[in-house]
């Protein structure tokens, strides 16, 4: 019975945040949830399982449409800020090729993935934690269990898939918008020739870099979804814990995103 997520996790929720037992339980729950979720995806692929489409549509809204305006605005603002900063640097150091190369690399490899991760955490991650917690509080998890349905079918499974898809899409969209804003600022305000900007872009990023830039937000999405599931489950049946689950998810997700990013820099790029 050790691997029964339903009983061991939903009914004896982990002591989230307490060290070390809560952390160990949280890790165990995350591993179990991920395993069950991957198992469900596998069953769906071979035609022996079904994704809950209304829950998937809800998750797509939470991690997609709901974030799109914010992502676009943040991309434009960050792009403009970067353009302004680059202009200032170029006034002091007349090394446009080197400066633009650094800016482009940092933008694609770090800035946009982190922005996507933070926005997905703030909207989709928190929404997933609150949904999970609310389902437990209202007895809906019990309802699913007694009807023989894995609650993950309604929570993590559709949410993770939606977050992966939308993180990929936002990595592309966020890069394009931010690039465009930086490019336009440098061209129209700082009079940097467009050809120079585009040359530095092609020099800054290779295919491996682009792949990493796309995959990183998806890894962040996975971590966010698991943190949200653990915190949502930890809320147990107390309505007061729903808010705490949301807060814990936001803080935990942003922290883990930064740690994961550092780990990638230290381990993968070296």
């Amino acid at each position: 019975m050790a691997a029964d997520l339903n009983r061991d996790a939903y009914d004896r929720p982990p002591r989230a945040g307490t060290w070390p037992l809560g952390w160990i339980e949280g890790l165990g729950l995350a591993a179990l949830a991920l395993r069950r979720c991957l198992g469900l995806y596998l069953r769906i692929l071979v035609g022996r399982g079904r994704l809950d489409l209304p829950a998937f549509a809800w998750s797509l809204r939470q991690s997609g449409l709901a974030i799109l305006p914010a992502m676009t605005l943040v991309g434009i603002v960050v792009g403009a800020i970067l353009g302004h900063q680059t202009e200032s640097v170029l006034e002091r150091f007349n090394l446009p090729g080197l400066v633009l190369l650094s800016i482009n690399y940092a933008l694609v490899m770090e800035l946009v993935p982190l922005l996507v991760g933070i926005l997905v955490a703030g909207r989709a991650g928190v929404a997933l934690a609150v949904r999970q917690a609310a389902l437990s509080v209202r007895g809906e998890v019990d309802g699913l269990l007694i009807t023989g349905i894995d609650p993950l079918t309604y929570t993590l499974a559709p949410a993770l898939l939606a977050m992966l898809i939308m993180s990929f899409a936002f990595a592309v969209w966020g890069s394009l918008v931010t690039f465009a804003a930086t490019f336009l600022w440098l061209w129209l305000v700082a009079n940097v020739p467009p050809a120079l900007f585009l040359d530095s872009l092609s020099g800054a990023l290779g295919p491996d870099d682009l792949l990493e830039a796309i995959l990183k937000p998806m890894l962040f999405a996975l971590l966010i979804a698991l943190i949200a599931t653990v915190n949502g489950t930890a809320a147990g049946r107390d309505p007061l814990n729903i808010g705490e689950a949301a807060t814990r998810t936001m803080i935990g997700a942003v922290t883990i995103i930064l740690i994961a990013d550092l780990a990638i820099i230290l381990l993968v790029r070296q």
Binding site: M1, A3, R7, G49, R138, G139, E140, D142, T147, I149
Partner: protein
């Protein structure tokens, strides 16, 4: 047929020996927040029997039903449901077992953002059979429990009694062998309670439905009740047939107080 006081005092709730037990609880303990909420619970219910678990608020009735449904794991003891030891079941086996059980929970367990009909069809979701077959089954339980016209309502638009009936319909739609009902008369007006009992009686005749219900009132199941278990502060104060309860009631002041509120 006396109150179960120890491991050897397992109470057979029907006098005659029956080969198959729908429920067997042996030495069950449950601790909640460091307190012993259920202690030394021993109970056996044969297939097709109707058991009413009675007790005041906080006696442990809901906790006991959660153990029977496999929603919680007991701190000690074994829970066997329809011949299966819940402790040793894999997730898949537990899911299969739940397919043979139905439940109505006291706090409600409907999906709030799904309509009545979507909630009803949940237990059939992963079962073979097309949509037409599922819709037929849903129509049948809707008509039986007089829920016509509520199919597309969200649960929040229903009264407590209607929600309970939708939960019952969902529990019955897959034709369970065992129905666990926590808070039998909660939210039901007298007419609805009588109608519901008639539906359950029909299910019992059709396929030996075993019913395990909890309530505050000892007469909640009327004459249909085969056995009564009285819980008080997590302990089994009595288990036996209604006639046995009636026989011991004059001598057992504690039971009289639990059941009637009067010494």
């Amino acid at each position: 047929m006396s109150a179960a006081a120890g491991p050897d005092a397992t109470a057979d709730v029907l006098a005659e020996p029956v080969p198959e037990w729908a429920l067997e609880l042996t030495g069950v303990y449950q601790h909640v927040g460091g307190n012993c909420a259920l202690a030394e619970i021993n109970l056996r219910v044969p297939r097709g029997a109707w058991l009413l678990i009675v007790g005041p608020n906080g006696a442990g009735k809901s906790l006991l039903t959660r153990l029977i449904l496999g929603l919680d794991t007991p701190s000690a003891g074994t829970v066997r449901v329809l011949g299966e030891d819940l402790q040793g079941l894999s997730v898949r086996a537990m899911t299969a077992l739940r397919g043979r059980m139905g439940a109505v929970l006291q706090g409600g367990s409907l999906l709030e953002h799904r309509s009545v009909i979507e909630n009803l069809l949940l237990p059939l979701r992963d079962l073979p059979g097309g949509r037409a077959q599922q819709a037929r089954a849903a129509r049948l339980v809707i008509a039986t429990l007089r829920l016509d016209g509520l199919e597309n309502h969200l649960p929040r638009a229903l009264s407590l009694g209607q929600r309970r009936q939708v939960e019952l319909a969902r529990a019955l739609i897959s034709g369970p062998s065992l129905l666990v009902w926590d808070g039998l008369t909660d939210g039901l007006d007298p007419a609805a309670a009588i109608e519901t009992l008639q539906v359950l009686r029909a299910q019992r005749e059709a396929r030996r439905l075993t019913l395990i219900a909890t309530d505050n009132r000892a007469d909640a199941l009327g004459e249909a009740c085969d056995c009564i278990a009285v819980l008080e502060r997590g302990h089994m104060a009595f288990s036996g047939s209604p006639s046995e309860l009636a026989a011991v009631l004059p001598e057992r002041l504690d039971l009289r107080y639990i059941l009637t509120g009067r010494p």
